[in-house]
């Protein structure tokens, strides 16, 4: 059972455009939603995260929009740069699961110059 779903599986946008990566979940007890970024040959690294008390979290060009009612969230990358090309993972955890992260399948983002 896939509790965290990501779409699209791959996404190509032009440099300067806004890339939108989508994530949805099923478990209403999830209370922490991080996005990780994985560059080829490197380690997954935390990019930005949100808790359901907020519906928006910004960090520079990266913004999470969160819709608790629909159990959906999205990561917006504005002014996309070729250096943003990577695989992005949405994940979720709940305090009563000892903070185990449930991972989405990832979105491979390609930014064309």
């Amino acid at each position: 059972q896939q509790q965290v779903r990501q779409s699209p599986q791959s996404l190509t946008v032009w440099e300067g455009e806004t890339a939108i990566l989508n994530c949805s979940y099923e478990d209403s007890t999830f209370d922490y939603f991080p996005w990780y970024r994985l560059f080829p040959g490197e380690s997954p690294a935390l990019l930005i995260a949100i808790r359901p008390v907020s519906n928006k979290k910004e960090d520079g060009r990266f913004t999470i929009f969160f819709n608790k009612r629909e159990k959906k969230l999205s990561l917006h990358i504005t002014d996309s740069q070729p250096g943003d090309s990577a695989t992005y993972f949405c994940a979720a955890s709940a305090v009563d699961s000892n903070y185990q992260l449930i991972w989405g399948s990832g979105t491979k983002l390609i930014i064309k110059p």
Binding site: Q6, Q9, Y32, P34, L38, G41, E42, S43, P44, A45, L46, A49, F89, A91, S93, N98, Y99, Q100, L101, W103, G104, S105, G106, K108
Partner: protein
């Protein structure tokens, strides 16, 4: 600075051979994890541990064993490697979901 070190970085094994992937963390985290990452599947949890002497099965434990002899070290063991276990393996340590640190990964090829 939080550090998770994996070895080896790359490994080529033969079908039926034994493979041991090692992970060391200097973060003093109780929890450690082994994931494999395959295109289209994201990060899949193989085994995890809550502390020295503890190992727990993750979502895809079949064909893998784990060992946590100390707080710092967590190994993943493939007793009889198969080509389907060709993947990139990541070790991670964490106190909570908000403090999860990954190693640089091991690329395993089973021929």
């Amino acid at each position: 600075e939080a550090a998770v070190t994996q070895s080896p970085r790359n490994k080529v094994a033969v079908t039926g051979g034994k493979v041991t992937l090692s992970c060391n963390q200097t973060n003093n985290h109780n929890n450690m994890y082994w994931y494999r990452q395959d295109t289209g599947h994201g990060l899949r949890l193989i085994h995890y541990s809550y502390g020295a002497g503890s190992t727990e099965k993750g979502d895809i434990p079949d064909g893998y064993k784990a060992s946590r002899p100390s707080q710092e070290n967590f190994s993943l063991i493939l007793e009889l490697a198969t080509p389907s276990q060709t993947s990139v393996y990541f070790c991670a340590s964490g106190g909570t979901a908000e403090t999860l640190y990954f190693g640089s990964g091991t690329r395993l090829t089973v021929l």
